[in-house]
Amino acid sequence: MRPDPAALPSTVPERPRGQRMVASSTLAVFLVLFFVSTWQTGFSLSDLWIGTGDFFRFFGRLVPDLSYLPEVWAPILETLQIAYLGTLFGTSLALPLLFLASANTSTDRVTLAVARTVLTVLRSIPDLLYAALLAPILAIGPLPGVVALSLFSMAVLAKLGSETVEAVDPGPMEALRASGAGRNRVIVYAVVPQVAATMTSFVLYIFEINVRASVIIGLVGAGGIGEQLLARLNFFAYGDVSMIIVVIFVLVLAIDALSVWARSRLI
């Protein structure tokens, strides 16, 4: 039976005053921040419009030059190699660190605090910046790329991993401890089996991130396809540039799809 419409209040009940205050002050803070930002950066909405137009016009000029394709393979392979090694080294470095950075497996509170701080600082620097920093020191080429990606992957993976480790069921850990196992055995037999699948999935995720990163670190001289992209762009060789962009696009898409498939089978 439908209720008599006339008996129902005709308007939506008002929200409590406190809630309205929070909502409107949040909006006000955001609007002020946004307008200060546009004023400080000189950005205007018309730029958005003009920029989009320019962008599509630029895209219109990008016609892939298929004859350039054979020259893309070698740097693309190098890109993948950098991502692969970066992921592998980053993972190897992260594994011992992440247990030190988890409250339930760390050795003591000082180590925990130090490990967490180091990871937070390392994570606040983007991978491209590491590459830019390392390229002048380690010679232009894939080496600074590998080191940069290893460092960044280590920090991100250790952070994700320590969150997972902190969420494990403490039961098995206590059981092992009760039977006299030390810290290492507790980690190997009680924690690792619980986090292995999730960690593997994180490693695949890091590999995805690293492939994206290794595509661009060449811009700062750290190896991979980015170097060639920048060179062709400086020559205004748009046919070659768009060929490279297409290959990058397909590569990232393929790696993502592969990784998503592998991860869906893991968990």
């Binding site: 983007p126 080496l143 700062v220």
Partner: protein
Amino acid sequence: MPAASTPHAPPAPPAAVRRANLARAGLVALILLLAVLTLVTLDLPPLERIVRGLRNNAVPLLRGFIRPNWHVAPLALSSMAETFFMAVIGTTIGGVLAFPLSFLAAGNLLGGTRYAVPGKTILVAIRTFPEILLAIIFVAATGPGPTAGIMAMGIHSIGFLGKIFADVIEGIDPGPNEAIRATGGGSLQVFLWSVVPQVLPEFASNLLYRFEINLRAATVLGLVGAGGIGLPLIQRLQFRRWSEVSMLLLVIVAFVIVVDAISGRIRRRLV
């Protein structure tokens, strides 16, 4: 219980477990083999070149890093502020444009999964494109400066935010929608009084999360001339003025950590 029935060695694993272990060992061997192959074929500089590079740079670098040059502090702060403002606008553009797209990409509101496919495809395509590549294209198309970086960030954020927003929309409780329809509400009322209140906290939380990502990304956009602290940084890197690089990095790290902490606290209260 007799002592003999408590074996010292753990029982042998069943056949299925042994097979799984064997497969895992094979996978590890394959990964290591690939690593060795990669190391051998990768075009690495000779060891002596690496040692020379380290010897020539490591000491000045460390010396510079321990003593950040405070003369560049004002420049570091003002260009980091620009970076911050760029991230604010970029995230806002991304959020505003992702909002309608996410409803197209969600399979539950606008008439079924069939219609969601084009929306989802567009979002994947946008996400796949590296941000810095977009920045290069915008610098080439509209000229250098923060506007190019903002545009790149805005567009790239659409892909990420659109996907997350669509996931949130697909996860809403249909109960309130039906309740509003049952009391005679139309689509607009359902949208305003059921969908929006349900998705808003999650949307806001993910916007903040994306802002954290964008702030980090914005620090490197300057490397390709798209505004922000990256430009003064790369200039000093090229001339190996380590103490000035150190100051700029210090400001980046401090800024990013503080913004992360604040944003993280707000996000925990939101969801």
